[in-house]
């Protein structure tokens, strides 16, 4: 009976008018990109923080079948790669009242560019403190943070994690000027400000 029923189902789709699959793929890519952007608009800014996200990522990767029924944004590799905001800081990056900032460097940053940035930052009177995290440091931190999620760790190489300078500002109103000063320097990818309470790590990220 099963085979017979199967044949009936096959016949039931026998008047399939056909559809252009390449067009369908193109349209799905366009619509899917919009979906991604809606889900992730806050993530690239460096807010991929919190237990909820960690739990979501673990569940999302180990049980991909469960992801489709939940409306929570699934954590992508890209989101997981963003450093975690320190608990003593506001989750969202800020533009005003900035106490800390992170300068992410491009993957292609040269030693010369990095050195020039370091020199400039070390002489910047607007900064109370600074530290540096290399790609390798970032990767080690990433491995520790996602150690329960081997798929995620496997998906990322040290090359893909950005190196960064972490900065503490002397005065909050200096952020815009600081960003203007450094954003155009060679090797700088992005500069993100955070508002942190006393005691937060420099830069406001873990």
């Amino acid at each position: 009976m099963e085979q017979h029923l199967r044949d009936q189902f096959d016949r039931a789709v026998g008047d399939d008018p056909g559809a252009p699959l390449d067009e369908m793929a193109t349209a799905a890519i366009a619509a899917g990109t919009r979906l991604r952007e809606r889900r992730h608009y806050w993530v690239p800014a460096g807010v991929a923080a919190g237990v909820l996200v960690v739990v979501g990522a673990v569940a999302g990767l180990t049980l991909p079948l469960d992801a489709s029924k939940s409306d929570e944004p699934p954590v992508t590799v890209a989101a997981a790669m963003v450093p975690m905001t320190a608990p003593a800081c506001l989750k969202r990056p800020v533009e005003t009242d900035v106490t800390d900032a992170v300068v992410f460097l491009t993957p292609e940053v040269t030693d010369v560019q990095r050195a020039a940035l370091d020199t400039a930052l070390s002489q910047d009177p607007g900064l109370a403190a600074r530290s540096y995290e290399s790609r390798e440091d970032a990767f080690r931190r990433f491995q520790i943070r996602w150690k329960d999620n081997p798929d995620l760790v496997k998906a990322v190489t040290p090359y893909e994690l950005p190196e960064s300078f972490r900065l503490r500002l002397r005065a909050a109103e200096q952020f815009t000027a600081l960003r203007d000063r450094y954003a155009s320097m060679g090797g700088v990818q992005e500069i993100i400000g955070r508002k942190c309470a006393a005691g937060a790590p420099i830069g406001g990220v873990l």
């Binding site: 789709v13 699959l21 793929a25 799905a28 619509a31 991909p64």
Partner: protein
């Protein structure tokens, strides 16, 4: 912390701001190519499954495309998954269920089976139409069980995974839906 590595050489030679963007673009191109290949291979079967669920080829195409869009949005995460086939069915069925929920009520009007006088007869046309129309009268989850189990030939276990049901629940729905189909189709029911 980096003081030790500061070189005292000339100012930055050259800005390479585009590097990150270029590698992203390359990654996107590779992803799009892989995704398109997946659509080409899975699209027709998925669209036919959607048709059995909604009885309308245009709507089926639309639902399938929505399912693909959702999959593209999660592609980095799901592409290496062992069971992309089952996953795609699950996404499609969720799209179908959502669509049914939105237009719920209107689906119950199907007691009057429409005629399809203009359809070219091939094989057993009455039965062909009858099967799809009878399916439309089942509860949407029961229909999903029948379609996945008998049109797509998935195992009971796979159907359970796709629909997020227990194995006994799938068996129960399957048996119930087959009985109902038998009643609806009468002599046309292909059980012999």
């Amino acid at each position: 912390m980096t003081d030790s590595r500061v070189a005292t050489s000339a100012p930055p030679v050259q800005e390479i701001r585009s590097g990150w963007g270029a590698s992203r673009r390359r990654a996107k191109a590779a992803r799009d190519e892989e995704f398109t290949a997946f659509v080409m291979s899975a699209g027709t079967r998925l669209r036919r499954t959607a048709y059995l669920m909604c009885r309308d080829w245009h709507l089926a195409e639309d639902l399938t495309q929505q399912a693909f869009a959702k999959m593209y949005a999660a592609w980095n995460r799901i592409r290496t998954g062992a069971n992309l086939e089952a996953y795609s069915r699950r996404v499609l069925m969720n799209v179908v269920f959502d669509q049914q929920r939105r237009r719920s009520g209107s689906e119950l009007v199907l007691a009057d089976l429409p005629d399809h006088p203009d359809r070219a007869p091939a094989g057993t046309p009455e039965l062909r139409v009858a099967l799809v129309d009878a399916l439309a009268q089942l509860a949407v989850k029961d229909r999903a069980v029948l379609v996945l189990r008998h049109a797509e030939d998935h195992s009971v276990e796979t159907v359970a995974t796709i629909l997020g049901l227990s194995v006994p629940a799938v068996k129960m729905r399957n048996a119930r839906a087959l009985t109902r189909l038998r009643t609806l189709l009468g002599d046309d029911f292909p059980d012999r």
